[in-house]
């Protein structure tokens, strides 16, 4: 992936892909999330120099948050601004959990956007998906494993489990939400 250094270039390359993703194009959604992940990584690396080990965790937490809240995106606004607002929100929340209020002001001042170079390199996050999934109620875990890991369609998953398609969707959403909450509360 080429390095995106300019804010407008980034927005121009992301917006059409993002809009297709919002319509339900899965490949476009994957591509958009990849672009966004490397953007957030750059954003956070700049601000989390004191805790580099936690950058990737927060990248994933932000991705999960924006996945759960993607219905709140307003097509009249830039995607990059929406993404940045969520990443900043998650960062402030992390500092609050860590009691690092003193850091908030200088690091949150607007930095030159030119400096927000994307960071394609990544390490894995410290969290382990299997361990997280075990925390979920069985019905939510099953819905996530079937659709999100084994890749069954919602109707296939509904047939296999004997619960309705809308119930599968609800359980996936609830399960992801619960994971987000759990990760947030334990901070690990």
């Amino acid at each position: 992936m080429p390095l995106e250094t300019d804010k407008n270039d980034f927005e121009a390359s992301l917006k059409p892909v993002w809009m297709r993703a919002q319509q339900g194009d899965e490949a476009a959604y994957r591509e958009a999330l990849e672009k966004i992940a490397s953007r957030i990584r750059g954003f956070l690396r700049w601000r989390m120099q004191a805790m580099p080990d936690e950058i990737e965790d927060l990248v994933q937490e932000t991705l999960l948050a924006l996945h759960l809240q993607r219905g709140t995106f307003d097509p009249g606004m830039p995607v990059s601004a929406w993404v940045t607002a969520i990443a900043r929100h998650k960062l402030v929340d992390l500092w609050r959990r860590r009691g690092r209020r003193d850091n908030r002001h200088d690091a949150l001042d607007d930095v030159d956007e030119e400096l927000l170079v994307a960071e394609p390199a990544e390490d894995g996050a410290q969290r382990d998906l299997d361990r997280l999934l075990r925390e979920l109620p069985e019905v939510q875990r099953q819905a996530i494993v079937l659709t999100k890991i084994e890749g069954l369609s919602v109707s296939e998953a509904a047939m296999q489990t004997g619960i309705s398609e809308s119930a599968i969707k609800v359980q996936v959403h609830r399960g992801l939400k619960r994971l987000a909450q759990w990760v947030k509360d334990t901070g690990s």
Binding site: Y29, G71, T72, M77, R127, G151
Partner: protein
């Protein structure tokens, strides 16, 4: 877990984006808040005499409360999203305050000098703001619950406006039991109660609206 793998997981079978349930959350909070506030006001303080509804006084208060609740609710709904376009709803909120303050000031100016004190303070200026705040609390709880389930990122602003909306709903409840008739009284003491509820919301926002 590798982030790449996590992205695969999120994207797989994700389907189209769901619509954010802004109205579905705000509407019940508003309806329940208004209902509880009116009920509590009527039970604890007793309704104003029915004849008063033939005068403009209670209607002025109800229209003020409803307009402000609408404008502040609009702004709160906007602030429930990560990037908010707030210009028009902010102007709407300011316009409602400006009209009420202007109306209060005009009626106060045309009042005879010896009646001005009575027009401004009435008999109940000490208790009015407090009652408005207390009657706003159910709506405030509902409004914060509604916003919390969405995705606000400016938590103080979102809390403040949720508070303004709740304050306006509480003022509507209080209008059913308040004996005052002067616009100047409403402009000052109702607005004070509403602003205090807003400040309470601004205080609670960063504490309760995290997600």
């Amino acid at each position: 877990m590798k982030t790449q793998l996590f992205i695969e997981l999120l994207a797989k079978r994700a389907g189209p984006a769901p619509r954010a349930p802004v109205l579905q959350r705000m509407a019940p909070a508003v309806a329940a808040g208004l209902f509880v506030s009116a009920l509590f006001a009527l039970i604890s303080m007793g309704s104003i005499p029915a004849a008063m509804y033939e005068t403009p006084a209670p209607w002025m208060k109800l229209i003020y409360g409803a307009s402000l609740a609408l404008a502040a609710g609009w702004l709160t709904a906007r602030l429930s999203r990560p990037v908010a376009r707030t210009r028009w709803p902010v102007l709407a909120v300011l316009a409602v305050f400006a009209v009420m303050l202007g109306l209060g000031f005009l009626t106060w100016m045309v009042a005879a000098p010896e009646q001005r004190m009575a027009a401004l303070f009435g008999d109940t200026w000490l208790t009015c703001p407090r009652n408005v705040v207390v009657l706003s609390l159910p709506a405030l709880a509902g409004a914060l619950w509604a916003v919390r389930g969405l995705a606000p990122t400016q938590l103080t602003a979102a809390g403040f406006n949720a508070g303004l909306m709740a304050g306006a709903l509480g003022a509507m409840g209080y209008a059913l039991v308040c004996p005052e008739v002067s616009a100047a009284f409403v402009a000052v003491w109702y607005s004070l109660g509403i602003l205090l509820t807003g400040l309470l919301g601004a205080f609670l926002g960063p504490r309760l609206l995290r997600w």
